[in-house]
Amino acid sequence: MQRGAGLFFKGDNLVIDLSVSIGKIKLKNPVMTASGTFGYGDEFAEYFDIGRLGAVVVKGLSLKPKQGNPPPRIVETPAGMLNSIGLQNIGAEKFINEKLPFLRKHDTTVVVNFFGDTIEEYVEAAEILSSADGIHALEMNISCPNKEEGWSIFGTDPKVTAKVVNAVRKSTSLNLIVKLSPNVTDIAQMAKVAEDAGADAVSLINTITGMAVDIKTRRPRLANIKGGLSGPAIRPVAVRMVWECYNAVKIPVIGMGGIVTADDAVEFIIAGASAIAVGTGNFVTPLASMNVLEGIEKYMSDEGINSIDELRGSLICG
């Protein structure tokens, strides 16, 4: 058995095929990292070969560097955490010059998460990133405020979502993944909007907006007051939304939200996810994504399942 390559041989027989297709690209296995929880990949390379991952998704980038929100920025909550990093990042250019060369050296798919304050910024960022060498796909984060329209979130109004996805679609020929916000009434509708606007895949869920209060000081625990809830606490919501989107669109769905173990990941795949991402789980242990990859292999071999295609969306209802 050869680990990490996606195809497993026993003697001459192909046994397990872990590879999955996301739009025009093929990942050797379905295990990705969730944006903002894996930095630009370099820190994790200290603990395992990041080339074994299906894809590395980097921290969200904007056209210009962003300094983010004041601290405190994180607080633990029951089986989860709130963060208000505020999209701090080094900017698209510095990423291309200083971080991308390192990622190119690894045999993995590089997905760049990005965002903008305006539609123009989205488009410009997409164009710059598309011209760089070694980026295989773009993931656009639409859970961020729209400076032009009263700071409401791009990803919660279907009309605005359609507009921004359309604009980015026209500006890149790279694989385009649209990352959906869970803070909406109808996630399946948002997935359809993204599909219609030309997305090659949707990924979900981003964090659910939450808040915590320090009862001693009577202040919010995050300087930014509100933050995004992630981790195992939100997994049931994420699995439900993945299933709803899987039933609503034809493009692949990338599932995330609270995945720490392989069992968690398999839940998402059975519910319809073509690939999955480990987020907060990376903080629980830096080996989480490797544990998930190895655990999925073991599960499939124990259950006699030969390919992810066979597992995906195999939920038996009724």
């Binding site: 601290p71 994180i74 963060n83 629980v284």
Partner: protein
């Protein structure tokens, strides 16, 4: 090089009602931690608490290292119930640690408030030859820890307590400031660790007297390895990560 590893609990000794001295023996070889570096510890497999918790290296010992901790919440409460032989997962050593080559070696001063004493013993072990002074403040006499360990290294702690139950009554900063003001020299090498208000007023004092202090900061952490950007502090070069560019910063760069 930091590692993710399992470690066996060799000892978990209560020092007071809510302070414990934990001795860990890593099951693999890890890099020797420097004073001021820290480890992230998992207390068990439950998802509540979810994240690892950061603890400074208190001392390196034969076969491993020690953590001095105070029980303040969920994780430390669970940790305090662990027994010798139990295993936990750890990540480290992490962070930069104290710079040891400070030039003005003649007047080295360690300043600790409350749990800020934890990293100071590792530091004292390294620089005992420089005959540092230790200014150590706590709320009350019963919370003063490791006094004999410092004495064994030839350092007689200069103590202050908020309630005056031991040493000088008042804050450790008062005590330190009156010493420095009367010393008639600015040639000090200062190391500090303690609560934010203490470090912030120490920074102001140092700025006034043009002294540089190296101080170990604390911020809530998720990853401990520089990826989540959760642990930043404001510096004159923008936000820096306590877990990566710190936890030790020069008092000149922090914007309080």
């Amino acid at each position: 090089m930091s590692e993710i590893f399992r470690a066996k609990i060799k000892e978990n000794r209560p020092l007071t009602n809510h302070h414990y001295l934990l001795t860990l023996h890593p099951l693999i070889n890890i890099a020797l931690p420097n004073p001021g570096q820290f480890f992230m510890l998992s207390v068990d497999e439950s998802l509540d608490p979810l994240l690892k918790r950061p603890f400074s290296v208190h001392r390196t010992v034969e076969g491993g290292f020690q953590i001095l901790y105070r029980v303040v919440g969920k994780a430390t409460k669970i940790l305090s119930a662990k027994s010798p032989g139990d295993e936990i997962e750890a990540l480290g050593p992490l962070g930069n640690g104290f710079p040891l080559n400070i030039s003005n070696s003649e007047n080295v001063i360690l300043t600790a408030g409350g749990m800020g004493i934890a990293p100071m013993l590792a530091l004292a072990d390294k620089i005992a030859g420089l005959k540092p002074l230790l200014f150590y403040g706590a709320r009350t006499a019963g919370e003063l820890l490791c006094l004999d360990d410092f004495r064994d290294s030839g350092i007689e702690p200069i103590i202050s307590t908020d309630d005056g139950t031991c040493g000088r009554k008042g804050s450790v900063i008062d005590s330190l400031e009156s010493y420095i003001s009367s010393a008639g020299s600015n040639n000090f090498g200062l190391y500090a660790c303690g609560p934010k208000p203490m470090l912030s007023s120490l920074s102001k004092f140092c700025a006034k007297h043009e002294i540089t202090a190296y101080m170990a900061l604390e911020e809530s952490m998720a990853c401990g390895i520089g990826t989540c950007l959760g642990c930043v502090v404001k510096t004159n070069e923008g936000y820096k990560r306590v877990c990566k560019e710190g936890p030790v910063f020069s008092s000149r760069e922090i914007i309080w």
